[in-house]
């Protein structure tokens, strides 16, 4: 990429055209996805292991819909908390609640003490 190329790539017209060019990927904006099972596969001493894990998670009855994955090391990663993994599922859901309170999508339920220290992984 040279400088002229970069300059030509950064115009308002390009911003509009890019959405038209790549509209096939915009479907991810449309709706929530159903929670899918997490599939872990490994080979041990020549034998194939497959672990399928399905979770049904709700907060006050509202389903947690972001992509959820459990790594082969057991750590949990939730798509809407992209920069963290968690050693426990409950700790992860508590973090979802804390984030939702911070961002104003749910109320604090009368507890305004800032939640737990999920950064250090309790739960």
């Amino acid at each position: 990429m040279d400088l002229e190329d970069l300059e030509a790539s950064a115009t308002p017209a390009e911003m509009a055209a890019a959405l038209e060019e790549h509209k096939d990927v915009l479907h991810v904006l449309q709706h929530a996805h159903a929670q899918e099972p997490s599939v872990r596969e490994e080979t041990h001493r020549g034998h194939r292991i497959k672990v399928v894990t399905a979770y049904e998670i709700t907060i006050d009855g509202q389903p947690v819909m972001g992509h959820l994955n459990i790594g082969n090391n057991g750590a949990v990663h939730y798509h809407a908390i992209p920069n963290q993994e968690f050693p426990s599922m409950i700790g992860m859901v508590e973090r979802i609640i804390d984030m939702s309170i911070e961002l104003g999508t749910i109320d604090s339920g009368g507890d305004d003490h800032g939640g737990h220290d999920h950064d250090s992984g309790e739960g």
């Binding site: 950064a10 911003m15 915009l26 904006l29 819909m65 082969n72 003490h113 800032g114 250090s120 309790e122």
Partner: protein, 336 residues
């Protein structure tokens, strides 16, 4: 001549231009993009140039590599948790920087970086949220919403403030519009966090210890490699504490937490510093990348796989992003 990226805390002109440029981009609707063009039901809003970058990042996070229904226990996506993490964000920063030049009408402008490791060395860690970046004269401080600084928001005068238009709802995982008008949310370490920002010793250790860019399985499980260390998935502590890049996101919190983290302009200062550390590593170890183009390696993360953007039709590859020193340089690189 290549533009120079400078330290946001020691170069007041870079700070001032960045903040002014971001606020101009936030009000730049010249592309004519609307939520209808994005296919977002129930809304009919113009989308600013700044917010189109937010959407690009969120969409990339939702493109899993490999895609479902293939087993994907390690949840690589088109921009994170895999080898493409560093070149993908370099491409994003280049385009954001170029748009800032456009609205500032200044072809010498270089995106500033925040050397968060310098702040991470500050003791006691409880004082770190009070350091220079978070002053009203810089990026403003913590708040829900952030009220001071160039990206402050006053609910009484919301038309004038820095508004969050889209964000990822943590429960549904869906791109959402806030109920009513709201500004940025920042936690800055939070009342119960026990860790501070990453330290310069951690950065030196990464630069000194890692001779490979990335290693199999090219995901968040890798125990070695610059990419996974710098992204912040290792070392694997029992409590899964985030490190380096990840820690900066979590430490700031609020709008820096979900996949819409580019809502907070600090996102770009963080990633510019991550890019600077990558550049320092390449100066020391060579401009090399892995994985190669073998079909056994994950699509979307290989040397010549296409990186697409939602702000330009121009695509790039990791290979093309390895050497861009003809476009920009850094005033100072961290040493091992």
């Amino acid at each position: 001549m290549a533009r120079v990226r400078r330290n946001v805390l020691t170069e007041p002109a870079s700070l001032e231009m960045f903040c002014r440029g971001v606020n101009l981009l936030k009000r730049d609707f010249s592309a004519g993009v609307t939520t209808t063009a994005l296919g977002l039901a129930g809304m009919d809003l113009p989308v600013s140039a700044f917010d189109q970058f937010v959407i690009w990042h969120y969409v990339a996070m939702n493109i899993l590599t490999p895609p479902r229904p293939a087993p994907n226990p390690n949840a690589r996506n088109a921009a994170h948790r895999g080898s493409v993490f560093l070149p993908w964000h370099r491409f994003m920063l280049l385009l954001l920087e170029q748009h800032l030049q456009r609205v500032l009408d200044d072809d010498a402008f270089g995106l500033p970086y925040w050397d968060w490791a310098a702040d991470g060395d500050h003791q006691p860690i409880g004082e770190q949220p009070g350091l220079g970046l978070w002053k009203a004269t810089a990026m403003g401080g913590a708040g829900a919403p952030v009220e001071d600084g160039p990206f402050g928001f006053d609910p009484e005068h919301h038309e004038d403030g820095f508004r969050v238009v889209f964000f990822e709802d943590p429960i549904s995982g869906v791109l959402s519009a806030p109920l009513g008008h709201r500004g940025l949310v920042r936690r800055l370490q939070g009342p119960t966090s026990t860790f501070g920002l990453p330290t310069s010793q951690q950065v030196r250790a990464v630069l000194a210890s890692q001779t490979e860019y990335d290693v199999e399985n090219w995901d968040a499980r890798c125990r070695e490699g610059l990419r996974n260390l710098l992204e912040g998935w290792i070392p694997f502590s029992a409590d899964r504490r985030p490190e380096l890049h990840n820690r900066v996101h979590v430490w700031i919190g609020g709008d820096m937490d979900p996949g819409t983290s580019p809502n907070d302009p600090v996102f770009y200062l963080n990633h510019c510093n991550v890019d600077r550390i990558w550049e320092a590593w390449m100066v020391k170890h060579g401009r090399k990348y892995a994985p190669d183009d073998s079909p056994d390696n994950p699509l979307g993360h290989r040397l010549n796989d296409q990186i697409i953007s939602l702000v330009t039709r121009r695509t790039t590859t990791p290979n093309e992003m390895l050497d861009v020193t003809h476009i920009y340089t850094y005033d100072e690189l961290p040493s091992a």
